[in-house]
Symmetry: C2
Subunit: 210 residues, 2 copies
């Protein structure tokens, strides 16, 4: 992808000509890509940005006039900026709904059976939303954590995803995405930590982390 940079021995005019050729190639690639398809998208890995990028996709979809639904499987005990924001724009009439089912991380609830029941309630809501033909994008936030801890079986998730409407986009976030879900996904990104500031006395920052 660095081919577009001007080369040391290249004049401006040579660079311009090379860019014309590169543009033709890119245009041809794009012309060949004509298939519209609802995607199964997975954001996983230990780095920051998995849920955040899913929320970014939600607003992008809203900007395109699409209808979005979000289920949060783990978070929920603590008020977040994204929840406050979604509430505000939904109240203003934008086609977005958010269902916060989680009661926090498992070391907070300290009750595995309740965690499983909470996760299954969230999953029932997720299924309802995915089967609602009015919805264009469903975000299943931290679902990967619920499958990792065996609160929800990955095979149930895969079965529902395989049966989804062709144009529905489904975004699954959380570290440790199951191999079964990755196998059937169209788009998988891993967020990797290169550097992080916490644990050196710096607290999670408002607006950045929550």
């Amino acid at each position: 992808m660095n081919t577009e940079k001007q080369l040391p021995d290249e004049t401006n005019e040579e660079h311009r000509k090379r860019m014309v050729r590169l543009n033709e190639i890119k245009d041809r690639q794009l012309a060949e890509a004509t298939q519209e398809k609802g995607l199964i998208i997975v954001h996983t890995g230990a780095g920051k940005g998995k849920s955040t990028a899913a929320f970014g996709m939600a607003i992008r979809s809203l900007g395109q006039g699409m209808r979005v639904a979000i289920v949060q499987f783990i978070k929920g005990a603590i008020p977040t900026g994204e929840a406050a924001f979604v509430e505000k724009i939904a109240a203003a009439g934008m086609p977005i709904e958010m269902h916060t089912m989680g009661e926090g991380f498992t070391w907070k609830t300290q009750d595995r059976e309740r965690d499983i029941a909470t996760a299954m309630t969230g999953w029932a809501k997720a299924v309802e939303l995915m089967r609602n033909p009015a919805i264009d994008m469903v975000i299943l936030d931290e679902l990967n954590i619920a499958t990792k801890y065996d609160y929800i079986s990955p095979s149930i998730v895969v079965q529902e995803l395989l049966a989804k409407r062709p144009m529905l986009h489904v975004v699954l976030t959380g570290r440790n995405a199951s191999d079964e879900v990755i196998e059937i996904a169209d788009l998988v990104s891993e967020m990797k930590v290169i550097k992080h500031p916490y644990g050196h006395g710096i607290q999670p920052q408002r607006g950045v982390e929550f």
Copy 2:
């Protein structure tokens, strides 16, 4: 991070007790992290989600009552869902502004000198926003591409970031982040491609890609 999973030979009660201990450790770690700080955040790598996660942070910050400004250095020629959305919520009175300076990728403009001029105009706007004490978060979308192509020198960027107000958050996105910027950043995430659907006849999807 898998320590919270119930172990095969662990009863529900043993698991509960272990979660109580884990909770104590996490609470202590959080209590020790008391420093509030505006962060320098970098989203880089070849995977999806760099700009999208920055937009997600923008809405999280808005939900927290913070004021946000975005400069787009490369994108701009093509209308996007995020631009439409930001326009809509800004018109509704939310404290967000977006400045789209880019004229598209360099293989579209085919004019290196114009690209440099465009990038420098964007940088002047970025500096103005970072120095505005009313703004809590500035997103410099695709700035890493502008430094990679030598449209803007990384040392100018580093100098301005080092001089920023302590509580200002700055988010820089784009592949090939410069080593100089990574060196001074607080939080760096790399988005990696694990699987992507394009180039197999599937076109970039509305709401997902733009």
